[in-house]
């Protein structure tokens, strides 16, 4: 278990005037529970609905209205806790966090302060450029979301949309165990993969269904912890990395100029790529937490937890291990292919009955490369697993070569049809007829008699002939057959 004592990899250190610095990062992730109704009311949670149409009397805090806990949300909290290898608390309680704001109708948020439903846990992350790191989970608690204040509809007035008011969020709090922007985004990626595999949150960061508050401080590597700043509500992996980089550098500049870091909450402006003060410690609210007297404590039994445990789907880590053993692919490939449920499912459909390594290479190389370039999610890929499988089958039975297949794939992406259809249409079938190949070989040898004579002394020259034959066949000749025939004829 890594703790505050872990010192960042040297490659993650930031250079400074007198000495290097390391970044200490902790995250609070808010993940919206995938539930059709709210945490304490029966109102629906549809995204993108007309303002103030998904609101019950409870969500609008009408006089005399009372919250009733949605048991489905409790179950999702427990599921997620189990997915984080965390302790499930059989006793938990809802508290009120009191503050005034127009999008908080009750004047308090119902949250779990003293007794969260999930306690400590840990997950392993592997950043793009580094070794696996264990990140501690401090807790997971359930709480209601606030509504939305809309400031830009009118110059003088603020509008409030209560559709989100009362929607159930899971707040997942990490320990300050991350040391680089890449670790932080890998952590969010990992949490996202887990909640999506569990089905407890759809992980859609664009809709704000998963967002992160990032706590950042800097210190001399291995030294005393510095004062942290909290960066609020960041909703993309890229912004998380950008915000941390900017903030760490800002703090270093202040410290190196002899200044002190004010503990404060900051906003990340993703247009400018910088953070700025939202509220200082002096403005910090006194939330006056106390147990919500309208709700009874949540008491669950071990049998209930065990029942949920038994129904958990395979999680990314377990799936990764299985991919390594079942498909004999490298750990690195397995990690990428299990980063989220959609990838893993796609891969399993593709690899079934095929060469698993080739399937992995095609997915991670050609497919992901193309999707990335086009900015398309896997779920929306123009080439699905069946279509890609059809292409791999053509390679597998030597109908086309791997090289030809790349061209076919481009055409599939462009929507020109299925693999068979394109190969047929464009006459791309590999020539395996040795007679036909011999004919080309003879022609090439005749045209390069001088070189042919040298093959006996310099066997490496055979490569030149292979290239010439392939070129003459339009890439369609079976390279193995070409090799064999050439060797026979030239004695290479």
């Amino acid at each position: 278990m890594f703790t505050a004592e872990r010192v960042a990899d040297k490659k993650d250190w930031l250079s400074g005037r007198d000495h290097d610095w390391e970044i200490i990062i902790g995250l609070e992730i808010h993940a919206q529970v995938a539930s059709n109704s709210k945490l304490f009311s029966g109102a629906p949670t549809a995204y993108g609905a007309e303002p103030n149409t998904q609101v019950s009397l409870v969500d609008a805090a009408m006089p005399g209205m009372l919250p009733v806990v949605n048991e489905f949300c409790i179950e999702q909290g427990v599921r997620t806790g189990l997915g984080l290898n965390a302790k499930i608390n059989l006793f938990s309680r809802f508290d009120r966090k009191n503050y005034f704001y127009p999008d908080l109708p009750q004047g308090y948020q119902i949250s779990q302060f003293e007794f969260p439903i999930v306690g400590e846990g840990e997950i392993e992350i592997t950043p793009e450029d580094g070794e696996a790191v264990v990140v501690g989970i401090e807790r997971l608690h359930l709480e209601q979301d606030a509504g939305k204040s809309i400031h830009d509809l009118s110059p003088n007035e603020t509008y409030v949309d209560l559709n989100r008011s009362g929607v159930c969020l899971m707040e997942i709090v990490s320990k300050p165990d991350m040391r680089s922007p890449e670790e932080a985004s890998a952590y969010v990626e990992k949490i996202r993969g887990i909640v999506r595999a569990l089905g407890t949150c759809d992980g859609d960061m664009e809709k704000g269904n998963l967002r992160a508050d990032v706590n950042v401080s800097v210190r001399k590597p291995g030294g005393e912890l510095g004062t942290r700043c909290e960066l609020k509500n960041i909703n993309s992996m890229r912004f998380i990395r950008q915000a941390i980089n900017y903030e760490a550098r800002r703090q270093i500049d202040i410290l190196e100029a002899g200044g002190e870091i004010d503990q404060e909450t900051r906003l990340f402006d993703n247009a400018k790529g910088e953070t700025r003060t939202m509220r200082s410690k002096e403005d910090a609210h006194d939330y006056r937490y106390f147990p919500d007297p309208d709700l009874l404590p949540i008491k669950i039994t071990q049998a209930y937890v065990d029942g949920i445990k038994a129904s958990l789907p395979e999680l990314p880590d377990a799936r990764k291990a299985r991919f390594v053993s079942e498909y004999s692919i490298p750990e690195y490939d397995a990690r990428i292919l299990t980063a989220d449920k959609a990838k893993g499912d796609f891969y399993e459909r593709l690899a079934k009955g095929r060469d698993a390594k080739i399937a992995a290479n095609w997915m991670m190389g050609d497919l992901f490369g193309a999707l990335n370039k086009a900015g398309i999610e896997l779920d929306d890929s123009p080439v699905n697993s069946d279509a890609l499988g059809e292409l791999l089958d053509l390679i597998g039975d030597k109908t086309i070569s791997g090289k030809i297949a790349k061209g076919v794939f481009e055409k599939m992406l462009a929507g020109e049809g299925g693999a068979n259809e394109i190969v047929e249409r464009d006459g791309l079938k590999q020539v395996t007829d040795t007679g036909a190949i011999e004919k080309i070989v003879d022609e090439v040898i005749a045209a390069n008699a001088e070189q042919a004579a040298k093959v006996a002394d310099n066997p490496r020259l055979i490569g030149f002939f292979v290239g010439q034959v392939m070129k003459a066949s339009g890439g369609k000749a079976n390279p193995q057959a070409v090799n064999e025939i050439l060797r026979k004829k030239l004695g290479g």
Binding site: P63, G64, V68, F100, G107, R288, Y289, P293, L295
Partner: protein, 488 residues
């Protein structure tokens, strides 16, 4: 016709069923009485047109031999219960003309049982007060006025006054620290706060959620049983509602108390308690003994901490519960220079002095650095008080105490002295802190001719014992005094 207002609820329901008179007749009689009694200021909102309409509907049902347990009976509703389409104020300016689109569970139950609602009864603002003087809609006057205006007690002052003055057959009330029992004691009426969780809090404007409980104020113990039967019951919309079948409360009234063990808690003897109250308590002991009850002396050692603990817990909860009155979605708003200025003006002008005082106390005791010393400590006291009662129940079945340390006092006498005012709750708050059922029964008049009540406290969920002991007290006391009708 005016005789119809003198009936007990029980007798009125019988008369309606046997068609001795119609609901229209008895409703009309009560509307007339209400109009005559305008000086009492018992109502904030009357709804006589709809009352007459419901009376007609009840008469149709009664004619067919149908109808619910309260069919055709004209009753009053404390203006803390949200009523669909009828303005609900909680006695506060801040709610403005707020008219709910929903009906509280308690009043919905009563409407389903055929109640005729005369209107919404005055109360201390947000039920915070012991004299009904904190109402934005002016104080309620106790019908037991002598030479000067007396308070009816609070917070359910309008309910108590209306029932004592025979302008409603019965009324709903709520009790957070004594708000049913103390006004009942001050007005010679009967009131029960049932076990916490018996009546749904859904649709009742919240004061202190862990203490608030609805109950009836009526003229007899049996009437209270009839009303509570209709008001109470499990409600899935209130997480603290008790999911247990209701016993037959009316059947418990008049049951023999022979052999019942009645505990007398020694800590309820208070320094400076009027001799008359001490004497009445002794008289109560004799009455219950004469009915065959056995008297046992018990100790509730943490009683002295109850009032301080109550005045931490209740304001703490109220400070949070009243945060929703921010002028943003309903009620009055006073525009300011910016958002926080708007909040401050709205709440400073919308809430009265006592409510502001309690919000500030509650905010203080929940603040960082004070929470442990106040709120947490008060919760511990609460646990101790509940344990005290648990030990007492090993020795007895119910407790007998005075309801209040004094009779009704003049309007204006204590309103500027909150500590003296808070002492009114000294005998009643313990039942709220422990969630127990407790009833006040009118027992005698003091030397000035003002009513005094005695209180029976029972085990959680054992309202039946409370009703049995209370009806024994009622029978022995034979309290039939009525205030002189000075208000017409």
């Amino acid at each position: 016709m005016s005789d119809l207002t003198k009936l007990s609820l029980e007798a009125a329901l019988d008369g309606l069923k046997t068609k001795e008179f119609s609901s229209v007749e008895i409703t009309k009689a009560h509307i007339d009485a209400c109009m005559d009694a305008a000086d009492l200021n018992a109502f904030i909102t009357t709804d006589f047109t709809n009352a007459m309409k419901s009376a007609e509907e009840s008469d149709v049902k009664l004619a067919k031999g149908e109808g619910g347990a309260l069919e055709g009976a004209p009753l009053g509703i404390k203006d803390l219960f949200c009523t669909e389409g009828v303005k609900t104020t909680a006695g506060s300016k801040i709610l403005g003309d707020f008219t709910p689109q929903y009906e509280s569970t308690v009043t919905a139950n009563m409407k389903a049982d055929g109640m005729v609602m005369l209107g919404k009864l005055n109360l201390d603002e947000f039920a915070m007060g012991s004299s009904n003087e904190t109402s934005y809609y002016n104080p309620v006057i106790n019908p037991w006025r002598k030479d000067e205006d007396l308070v009816p007690g609070g917070s359910s002052g309008g309910s108590a006054s209306a029932v004592a003055a025979n302008i409603c057959l019965g009324a709903t009330a709520t009790d957070t620290g004594g708000s049913i029992r103390q006004p009942a004691s001050f007005t010679g009426t009967t009131g029960i706060k049932p076990t916490y969780g018996r009546c749904s809090r859904w649709g009742v404007v919240a004061f202190a959620s862990s203490l608030d409980q609805a109950g009836p104020i009526t003229r007899t113990v049996k009437d209270a049983a009839i009303m509570l039967q209709s008001m109470a019951g499990y409600d899935a919309k209130d997480s603290t509602s008790i999911n247990k079948d209701l016993p037959d409360f009316k059947a418990a009234c008049g049951k023999s108390i022979k052999g019942m063990k009645i505990g007398i808690p020694k800590e309820y003897t208070m320094d400076g308690m009027p001799k008359e109250i001490e004497n009445l308590w002794q008289q109560g002991i004799k009455w219950l003994q004469s009915c065959g009850a056995e008297i046992v002396h018990v100790s509730l050692p943490h009683t002295k901490y109850a009032l301080p603990a109550y005045y931490i817990v209740a304001p703490a909860e109220c400070s949070s519960n009243l945060a929703r009155y921010d002028g943003m979605r309903y009620g009055d708003r006073v525009e300011g220079d910016n958002l926080y200025d708007t909040y401050e003006r709205t709440r400073a002008e919308g809430f009265g002095k006592e409510v502001r005082r309690r919000i500030m106390m509650g905010t203080y005791v929940l603040s960082a650095g004070y929470y442990d010393a106040y709120y947490l400590q008060a919760q511990k006291v609460r646990t101790k008080i509940a344990e005290d009662f648990k030990q007492a129940w090993e020795k007895c079945d119910a407790l007998l105490t005075p309801t209040c340390p004094s009779a009704a006092f003049p309007v204006g006498r204590k309103v500027n002295d909150p500590v003296t005012m808070y002492l009114n709750d000294i005998f009643t708050v313990t039942a709220n802190l422990a969630g127990l059922p407790a009833m006040s029964v009118p027992a005698a008049l003091d030397n000035n001719g003002l009513p005094l009540g005695l209180q029976i406290i029972g085990r959680a969920l054992d309202e039946e014992t409370v009703f049995a002991a209370s009806s024994a007290l009622e029978a022995c006391a034979g309290f039939t005094a009525k205030p002189e009708k000075w208000w017409v």
